[in-house]
């Protein structure tokens, strides 16, 4: 789960990390009130979970109330690369002496957290590493011992951080590593980490990813929402407890198991089709889940044909068939449905479907056959 900038900063503040003063606003009136409270000049920042907001016109400095109003009005509702701005963060303007980069990221290859620090902040990390590999200091954190202040100072010196702020930056790195462990963050990135005119070390941005599996022990974070990233089908699927990802094609897809579902998308694409979604019905799906899944898939108006690719292990194909029949009885699916059933109880499932004589239903024996047929019908 990706936090918005202001949610990340509030998390930082909770752990005693220096961030600029700011207020959240969701309406124009809120924004004006927030700006008055913060004082001028202030910065109006679009809250969407995507980078390069500044270039898109989503970050503006306001000198007075008139400018705060103009900028807030322009930014609220703005579309930034497919994300609609529903939230603003009004922040005090900072005087910047230097811009650094700091991050803590889970390195899954090494199975350790990795601390990274650079004196070349402001650009993205790939670009930075490419331009000057030596400008990025990296150090893995030993899981058993964590990151201590002395090691953090070494990292800061290696990154050629200005002498007078080595301690401040090192303390911040130590704190970031502690936050990662305390809050189950798999990524914390601050870009830029600034040194102010008063030589204070402050987090000017916050990119935080929280491990979704850990939300049971972070009830405060579990309640946060990012309205900009949700679309109608994804919201509906979440309510029904389905694993659904919206894509931009027209072939609706349901499979059981994440791997098989990804493979199904690939095979449909190879057959010349464009998948409309990823939907993993999971293991042991019952008829009811299939009814829900069909409702979500068909609510996407772009869908012109649907493929069910089921290889039953724990999942029983007769349950899937019952779900399809039940859904057809409740509502008109409206588009051709191609069903491939194989594995546990596939004969029973195929038998039930044949008996039901549903209109617009096409039975297939193989995954490749199913993909070809659905692309033809879409």
């Amino acid at each position: 789960m990706d936090l918005l900038e202001y949610q990340g900063k509030q998390l930082f503040a909770k752990h005693g990390l220096a961030v600029p003063q700011g207020r959240h606003a969701a309406t124009l009136d809120d924004a004006i009130a927030a700006a008055a409270e913060i004082g001028y000049p202030c910065v109006v920042k679009a809250q969407v979970a995507i980078g390069k907001r500044g270039k898109a016109g989503g970050i503006k400095v306001a000198k007075d109330e008139a400018e705060a109003r103009t900028h807030s009005e322009a930014i609220l509702g703005m579309d930034i690369r497919g994300f609609t701005v529903h939230d603003l963060w009004i922040e005090e303007a900072s005087e910047i002496d230097a811009e650094y980069y700091a991050s803590i990221i889970l390195d899954r290859g090494e199975k350790k957290l990795l601390a990274m620090l650079s004196r070349m902040g402001g650009m993205d990390v790939e670009e930075m590493a490419e331009r000057d590999p030596n400008a990025l200091a990296r150090r893995h954190i030993e899981p058993a011992s964590g990151l201590d202040l002395e090691t953090a100072r070494e990292i800061a010196r290696e990154a050629q951080i200005d002498d007078d702020v080595v301690d401040g930056v090192a303390e911040m790195l130590v704190k970031l590593a502690e936050i990662a462990l305390a809050e189950d963050a798999t990524l914390i990135e601050i870009n830029p980490l600034i040194v102010t005119a008063d030589r204070e070390v402050v987090a000017l941005d916050a990119k935080v990813t929280i491990d979704g599996n850990s939300l049971f022990r972070h009830t405060d974070l579990a309640e946060l929402r990012d309205r900009s990233a949700e679309d109608e089908q994804e919201r509906m699927a979440k309510e029904k407890g389905l694993t659904y990802v919206k894509l931009d094609g027209n072939v609706g897809i349901l499979a059981n198991g994440a791997g098989l579902c990804m493979s199904t998308l690939d095979v449909v694409a190879q057959a010349g089709g464009r998948p409309a979604n990823f939907l993993d019905a999971g293991g042991g799906s019952k008829a009811e889940a299939i009814v829900d899944a069909l409702e979500v898939i068909t609510s996407d108006e772009k869908v012109s044909a649907i493929l069910f690719n089921i290889f039953g292990g724990i999942t029983r194909c007769d349950e899937i068939a019952k779900g399809i029949i039940e859904a057809s009885n409740q509502t008109d699916i409206g588009v051709p449905l191609v069903v491939r059933l194989d594995g546990t109880n596939s004969e029973e499932g195929l038998g039930l479907l044949a008996e039901a004589e549903l209109p617009n239903l096409h039975l297939e024996k193989t995954m490749l056959g199913g993909a070809e047929t659905v692309v033809e019908l879409a």
Binding site: K112, D211, S214, S263, G343, L368
Partner: protein, 292 residues
């Protein structure tokens, strides 16, 4: 021979008294796995269909000689259950549980390494050695005994490929589901090593998916240290960047970790990569036929 589980496996199931634990534990026993004990704190002294239940894994090891642990404990308690099994002295822990926080697994991973315990999973379907033992949720009916070793990040995708192999008259030495989480106890390389040393295994099928760099690392390892032929399949070519596809690990960030990058890395080391599960099974059959 086979790898990880076999005729010598003595299984203890943490969470045997739960609904899923009972169903799959007894299913594993019906297959022929030597299920010696279950563990549920507070339920010691009870039994599940004749299988004795203990309060701790240690008791199951001491009293019943358990050497392999299967974890069927809910996610929030699973990391502690794995730690308990490691400390109790079993040699192998197979964690089926889905949804364990990844930073919990980071700690568990290093403690397992330290104790020299083989950890498979979490969020995996387990390990099946056809004709010998099944530990986990892999439906055994789709696999025959044979000479192909399978290692996979995904469950259903593995059943799909196994079934195609079976229809082609081919069988498996073992099938290992390593799981799709960002941190798993054993990676492709760990399992490739075991297959390379296993006499029964003549060919290895490796099933990967987007995310991380385990496939790229495996490609390097295959070139250097695997003499047996390897056929691979990668899922997730059509996955958009930044979107999570069900498996917590299956997320692409930036340019690395894409299916294309993995395919390129494998093909650069002369590993044949199938375009679909069907073609992958076909490639495996072909490769085996040319060797025989």
């Amino acid at each position: 021979m086979s790898i990880i589980v076999g005729n010598n496996t003595k299984l203890v199931v943490s969470g045997l008294t739960g609904r899923e634990g009972t169903f799959h534990g007894l299913r594993n026993r019906d297959y022929g796995t030597d299920l010696v004990a279950g563990v549920t704190p507070g339920k010691g002294g009870q039994d599940v269909d004749g299988v004795p239940v203990f309060d701790t894994v240690k008791e199951a090891v001491d009293d019943r000689g358990a050497n392999t642990s299967m974890i069927f404990v809910p996610a929030r308690f699973a990391a502690a259950a794995i730690d308990e099994a490691i400390e109790a002295g079993v040699g192998t822990v197979i964690a089926i549980t889905e949804g364990i926080p990844v930073l919990d697994m980071m700690g568990v991973y290093w403690r397992a390494r330290e104790a020299d315990v083989r950890l498979i999973g979490p969020n995996c379907p387990g390990v099946l050695s056809p004709g010998k033992a099944n530990v986990g949720i892999i439906p055994a009916q789709f696999f025959d005994q044979g000479s192909i070793g399978v290692v996979s990040k995904s469950g259903t995708l593995t059943y799909q490929i196994g079934n195609e192999l079976k229809q082609a008259g081919l069988g498996n030495s073992s099938i290992v589901g390593i799981g799709g989480d960002p941190i798993v106890g054993s990676d492709f390389i760990d399992i490739l090593k075991l297959y390379e040393a296993d006499e029964e295994t003549e060919l290895i099928v490796m099933v990967g998916e987007i995310g991380g760099d385990a496939e790229e690392r495996a490609a390097e390892f295959i070139a250097e240290s695997v003499s047996k032929p390897v056929v691979a399949y990668i899922a997730g070519f059509t996955a958009p960047p930044g979107k999570q596809m069900g498996h917590a690990g299956a997320i692409i960030s930036g340019s690395s970790g894409t299916a294309q990058a993995k395919q390129d890395a494998l093909e650069a080391k002369d590993v044949r990569v199938g375009t679909s599960p069907t073609e992958t099974a076909k490639l495996a059959a072909e490769t085996l036929a040319t060797r025989a």
